[in-house]
Amino acid sequence: MSTKTDKIDRLSELSAAKEDEHGVSLWTEALRRVRRTPSALVGVGILVIFVLVAIVGPWLVPYSPSELMGINEVRPGVIPGPSAEHWLGYDHNGRDQFSRLIVGARQTLLVGIVSTLIGLTLGALVGGIAGAAAGLGGRIGRAVDSVLMRIVDMLLALPSLLLAVSIAALLGASLTTVMIAVGVVSVPVFARLLRGAMVVQAGSDYVLASTSLGVKRTKIAVSHILPNSLAPVIVQATLTLATAIIEAAALSFLGLGNPDSATPEWGLMLADAQQYLDVRPGLAIFPALGIIITALGFTLLGEAMREALDPKLRK
């Protein structure tokens, strides 16, 4: 008798314990999983340092990045290397390379974020409309989707660097141009991705269930199909940040970025350094390392998020 009541007490305890606990949403659980992935933590660590440097760097640097302080020491074939005062030496105009590298992080981060946001916003808009139209809009919806996607296909067919170069050439060389060009190049990727995910979700049972409940189609698209299609887009955005930084550097390298070298930017520093590769290879190596490490940070985080958000990979 007593064991039975014990059991009942135990049961009610268990159910009470369950009552306290709140439900765990998929996002919370994905975040938990990212936190448990070592490579994601490395990526986040890199990014935190990078962002901190980008924000506070300009106030910490020992010298102004644009002051031609060592111009007298720079001669053809001689660029002074690292010393106690100038940790990474001078650049070809006698400016402090270390200060330029630190200050340049800000421009690089800005280019990466702004261009990714441009791509994400435009791409998600086009992809979202196409996806919702294809999934729920009947005959007219499918026609809208077809038109939008053929336009996206045309964009996708052009080599991305060529597209970026033509946009940059059209708008003139500046940092804004680089951001727009890199952003526009990633539009088709985001559009296709979101549209594809939405079409898949539109065919799922819970969308049918909502329809049979009598929920409006627009509401189904916004509150069911879209949220369930965002995971791959968010992952792609993280990965695009990495490629955007590299592509922006490539455009700057080709001379389509900010022509004024007074505001340092890693891609432009790399471009300038190539002329002096035989004299001072260090000038190219450090901005290149910066680009690579930052891109690596975004990639590590993006890959970890992909795994955390993919229900098929759930452990």
Binding site: K18, S25, S204, Y206, L208, A209, S210, T211, L213
Partner: protein
């Protein structure tokens, strides 16, 4: 006879088969549902059985206008659904709900239970403010046997049986008249199946629900249904009160289907005749002429079966309807079963000889009694 809630007349759902790179060309139609008539009485359960691919799920969805029918009429409590404008149809949906086979995929993984249950109420402007809605939801949770703390939980935190209960709660919270249950228990463990079936029966009693239960499990359908309809290749072949159809199946296809059910009595089980059908289900894109079943029917006759499509007609007394030209003769023993050579379904693949080896065999104790 009780009042009729749903009247389906000559319902057809044909899916176009499209080919072509630039311009889609319709090269044919998959006739998933091809001329179905049925009546569902208020407060009753209509069980729909048939093998996979026979169109029973499509029939359920077409009835609810979730898949637009190609032809025919669906009358729901005096309202014609097939011609109803989208707006009225949407508000009509409150009265007809659906329960899905896979409880995981039919629940939005990013919605918690409260949001799942509120959605329908909001869509129809029911339940007033939040506190009142909470009361309605709490009642629905109670009715399906889920604890109140389930409200803040997400579908992935529940077991399969509990998820199906959430799906049922979502349907009953709107206080519907009709629930179409598409394989409501086939994704669940056998031990859980009985619980869910019993829950459906309790709810029917409490709320006066009318069910259309779609299943391939004959035992489930027998247990829950008042009337059973058997589908083969997009059409009903037999329809009768549940007990009748299990005791005396009349259509050759139903006979074959029923003969596959084991009997829990060893003596009867030993004497059980098993009719093994030869060949595969013909393609619904290119169904056989005349009687859909004549290519596999052990009782098929050279006349009529191949040319004339049998109508569902009343046989004997009462509500037993069968779509077979020769049902009386088969029943009286005038027509005896014979061996059927399997027909090759896929064109070009495999030789005819290999398929010819598959033959319908009628097993009776003491050797082939044909």
């Amino acid at each position: 006879m009780t009042e009729t809630l749903v009247e389906v007349d000559d319902l057809k759902v044909h899916f176009p088969i499209k080919r072509g790179v630039f311009l889609d060309r319709v090269v044919g139609h998959v006739k998933a549902v091809d001329g179905v008539d049925l009546r569902i009485a208020k407060g009753q359960t209509y069980g729909l059985v048939g093998e996979s691919g026979c169109g029973k799920s499509t029939l359920g969805r077409a009835l609810l206008q979730l898949t637009p029918p190609t032809g025919g009429r669906v009358n729901f409590d005096g309202t014609e659904l097939t011609t109803l404008p989208a707006k009225q149809l949407r508000s009509m949906r409150r009265r007809m709900q659906m329960i899905f086979q896979d409880p995981m995929s039919s629940l939005d993984p990013r919605q918690n239970v409260e949001s799942i249950l509120t959605e329908g109420l909001q869509a129809h402007g029911l339940g007033g403010d939040r506190t009142e809605r909470r009361k309605i939801i709490a009642k629905a949770l109670d009715a399906v046997g889920l604890p109140q703390w389930a409200l803040s939980r997400y579908p992935h935190e529940f077991s399969g049986g509990q998820r199906q209960r959430i799906g049922i709660a979502r349907a009953v919270v709107l206080n519907p008249d009709l629930i179409v249950a598409d394989e409501p228990v086939s994704a669940l463990d056998v031990s859980i199946q009985a619980q869910v079936i019993n829950l459906l029966e309790e709810l029917q009693e409490e709320l006066g629900l009318t069910y259309l239960v779609i299943a391939h499990d004959l035992a489930v359908v027998r247990h829950i249904s008042d009337t059973v309809g058997v589908m083969y290749l997009g059409a009903l072949v037999e329809e009768a009160p549940s007990d009748d159809i299990y005791r005396t199946p009349l259509h050759p296809y139903t006979r074959a289907l029923m003969s596959a059910v084991p009997v829990p009595d060893p003596e009867v089980e030993d004497r059980r005749e098993r009719i093994l059908l030869a060949g595969d289900l013909p393609s619904p894109a290119n169904p056989p002429s005349g009687c859909r079943f004549h290519t596999r029917c052990p009782w098929a006759q050279p006349t009529r079966c191949g040319t004339e499509r049998p109508e569902l007609r009343v046989v004997g007394t009462g509500a037993h309807r069968v779509a077979c030209h020769f049902v009386e003769q088969i029943e009286s023993g005038e027509i005896r079963p014979h061996t059927v050579k399997a027909e090759v379904i896929a064109d070009g693949a495999g030789s005819k000889d290999a398929h010819g080896a598959l033959e319908t065999a009628l097993e009776t104790p003491g050797g082939p009694g044909i």
